[in-house]
Every structure is written in C-alpha cells, then in structure tokens.
C-alpha cells in the first residue's frame, strides 16, 4: 500500500472524471441535435398544415368554381329535373348507368326530363381523377354531345376497382373515339386546365354535401333506394 497504488488511484479517478465529462458531452450533443431536428420537423409540419388549409382546392381564379363541369341532356323546360353525381370508377355508378342510360335518354328526347350529369372524383386519386380530367377536357373542348358519348364509353369500359386500369393516354384515345380532338384534349391536360376544372367539379360536389356515389337528385330531392336496382326503377318511373 504505497506510492504506487495511490498513483494508480489518482489515475483511476482522473479517468473516471474524464469518462463522466464525456458522457455529459455525448448527452448534451444528443439533446441539442434532437432539439434542432424537432424544431425543423415543427416548421415542416406547420408549413405543411398551413399549405393544406390555405389551398387544397382550386384557386379563386379558377373558372366557375361554384358549379364545376356538367353535362346535360334534355330541355330545361322539361317537367322533371334529375342531377346525377357520379365517379367514373364507382361500380354502383356503372350499374345505375347501365340500367338508366336508355330510359333517361328516351325520356329526355321526349321532353319529359332534363338530366344533369356531374362527374367528380370521389374514389381513386389515380383512375377516377385521370378519367375525370379527360372527360372535363373533352366537355370544354368538344362540347356536350361528345362529352355524353365519352361518358357512356367510360362506363361501358369501366375497370374493376382493383384494376387493371387504362392509362390516361388510352382514356384520351376513348375521347377521340367519342369525337374529341386529340391535340386539344391533350393540351388541356398538359396545361393543367383539365386538373383545375376537375378539381372545381370535385369541390362543387363536396360543397353540395355529396359524400357518396351515385347521388341522384330528383326534382331537387335526394332519391333514396335500398339497392341500385331500386333507385333505377324509381327514377325511371318518376320521369317516364
């Protein structure tokens, strides 16, 4: 128990003090890095939320943001009015379309009803949105009759909700088949106009409180039905 061991003691104490100091340093570094990262994440989250709240939808300059893009058949003077909100991917919309297309077309031609179709995006951000964009681009560049043909073609060729889905370029081909000008439709899509119009339609449907598809308004009142069959039957009875 001599000089040697007390020197050893001192060295041990010094090493322990150093280790303690380093432990503190690591802890301080860890805390400050965590703090900085936290601040960054907060700024990011705040910016993201602000952007989302401020402008998820079309800007105020969008044309006719109140009502969106629609297509009508029949005269406004007809005794009945029907509004159909639909999504190009929704299977029940396809079903309703199949059962009412001919009946409504005939009734409209006979002056018994005016039908307003209001497609919007409820379901998929991909196919529903792309089909809607091609459709609004067609309605804006080729008019009501071509839009009606494309509308019927889109439902006749409706994919299953699980896919496989046509690409947007193939949907443009359908629009051309309906009678639209490919260059004009493509231009509306590439320029972002189609997106603006499509989003305006979707916003209009949301503003109108439409939360499911198909939503059918018969003379301003929502048509209810247990099944799509039921709805189709009621609708056709009412207008024929």
């Amino acid at each position: 128990m001599s000089k040697k061991s007390s020197a050893q003691d001192r060295a041990d104490r010094a090493a322990a003090a150093l280790a303690e100091q380093r432990r503190k340093e690591r802890r301080r570094t860890f805390l400050s890095v965590t703090g900085v990262v936290l601040v960054m994440v907060l700024i990011l989250g705040g910016g993201f939320l602000a952007a989302k709240l401020k402008g998820g939808g079309p800007s105020d300059t969008a044309a006719d943001p109140g009502s969106g893009t629609a297509m009508t058949i029949g005269q406004a003077s007809a005794p009945h009015s029907v509004v159909i909100y639909e999504d190009f991917l929704c299977p029940y919309c396809g079903e309703l379309e199949k059962r009412t297309k001919d009946g409504l077309t005939t009734a409209a031609a006979d002056g018994k009803v005016q039908v307003t179709y209001r497609p919007f995006r409820l379901l998929s951000p991909d196919y529903s949105q792309q089909a809607l964009e091609v459709w609004v681009a067609t309605q804006h560049t080729a008019g009501n009759d071509v839009a009606k043909k494309l509308h019927d073609l889109l439902y006749a060729n409706q994919p299953s909700e699980q896919g496989p889905f046509r690409k947007q370029s193939e949907l443009v081909t359908l629009a051309v088949q309906a009678g639209a000008d490919q260059a004009k439709v493509q231009q509306a899509i590439d320029s972002g106009d189609a997106t603006t119009w499509a989003d305006a339609s979707t916003k209009a449907a949301q503003d109108a409180g439409v939360a499911s598809t198909p939503t059918v308004l018969l003379d301003g009142k929502e048509l209810s039905g247990r099944t799509v069959d039921d709805m189709a039957t009621k609708l056709l009875q009412a207008v024929s």
């Binding site: 380093r22 900085v36 993201f48 989302k52 800007s59 951000p125 590439d190 320029s191």
Partner: protein
C-alpha cells in the same frame, strides 16, 4: 493549397445553395395550390402523393436552405439538398423526354409553358451545378463556421489515440 481554401469554398457552396433554396421555397409559399399543380404537371406521382409533395416542398426547401446558411446539421442538410436536386434533375429530364411542355415550377409558377423545351437544358445544368455544390459540402472535411460549432462543441480533452 492554404488550409482555409476548402472551408471557404464550403461556406460559398452553402451560401449559394442555401439562398437558392430559401428563394425557391419562399416564392412557392404564397400559393400552395399552384405548387400542387406544378408537381402534378410532371405527371410522375399519383395525385394524392403529388398533393402532399406540393404542400410539403416549400417549407422543406426553406428549412434546408436555412440549415445550410446557418450551418446547423450542415452535412445532413447537404445530403437532403443533394437528394432534392437529384430528384428535380430526374423530374425535368423525364418531362423533357416525354415531350411535356411545362414550367419547372422551381420558383413558383408551373404548368404549361410553350417555350419550356428551350429552358430544360439550362434548368438541368443549373440543378446539376447546385447538386455538385451540395455533394461537395457533404464530403468536405471542414464545412466552415456555423451553428454546428456550438452544437458539437467539445468540452472533454481529445486523447492522442483518438487523433490517429
């Protein structure tokens, strides 16, 4: 080469990339919907993801820019900066290759632009230069003065074996 050259170059690279980021982010901040449309115009991401990216990108750009200018977590910010520039180069090249005529939306704006094709080469060159600067900051030994020096200040003595 004098010892201060590399850190001085690193500071220059940090300032240039950082200021470009802050400028790019700030010019998108006022119109989030335009930022979303600019991302969608590339037709690369599904709409849902494109919207999120459009909403997130402006603040991310400002945070990355501020971190580079102030020198906070400098190397990490430079990694993010390099990845973003790489993504933008891929996006613009892909738009060019697919024949899209869109404004890159780099500093606000976005969407259709009839003169876009003539601007693509210059935009890609600019982003490539900024990418190189970011990569330089990632790998340079001393990134220059910044808040990191406070953040990672050493209080314990450095032992000899650690220096080897």
């Amino acid at each position: 080469m004098p010892r201060y050259v590399l850190p001085a170059l690193a500071v220059l690279a940090r300032l240039v990339t950082g200021v470009v980021w802050i400028w790019a982010g700030a010019s998108k901040l006022s119109d989030p919907y335009a930022a979303v449309l600019a991302v969608r115009a590339y037709q690369l991401l599904p709409a849902g993801i494109a919207d999120t990216v459009g909403h997130l990108l402006p603040s991310l750009e400002i945070v990355v820019g501020a971190a580079l200018v102030l020198g906070v977590l400098t190397r990490g910010a430079a990694v993010v900066s390099a990845l973003l520039f790489l993504a933008f180069i891929i996006g613009i090249s892909s738009a060019w290759a697919r024949g899209l005529q869109i404004d890159c939306g780099c500093f606000g704006g976005g969407g259709f632009d009839p003169n876009a094709a003539s601007k693509y080469p210059w935009e890609i060159a600019r982003d490539a230069a900024l990418l190189l600067m970011s990569v330089f900051v990632v790998f340079v030994r001393d990134t220059g003065p910044g808040l990191d020096r406070l953040l990672f200040r050493r209080t314990a003595p450095i032992l000899n074996e650690e220096l080897s």
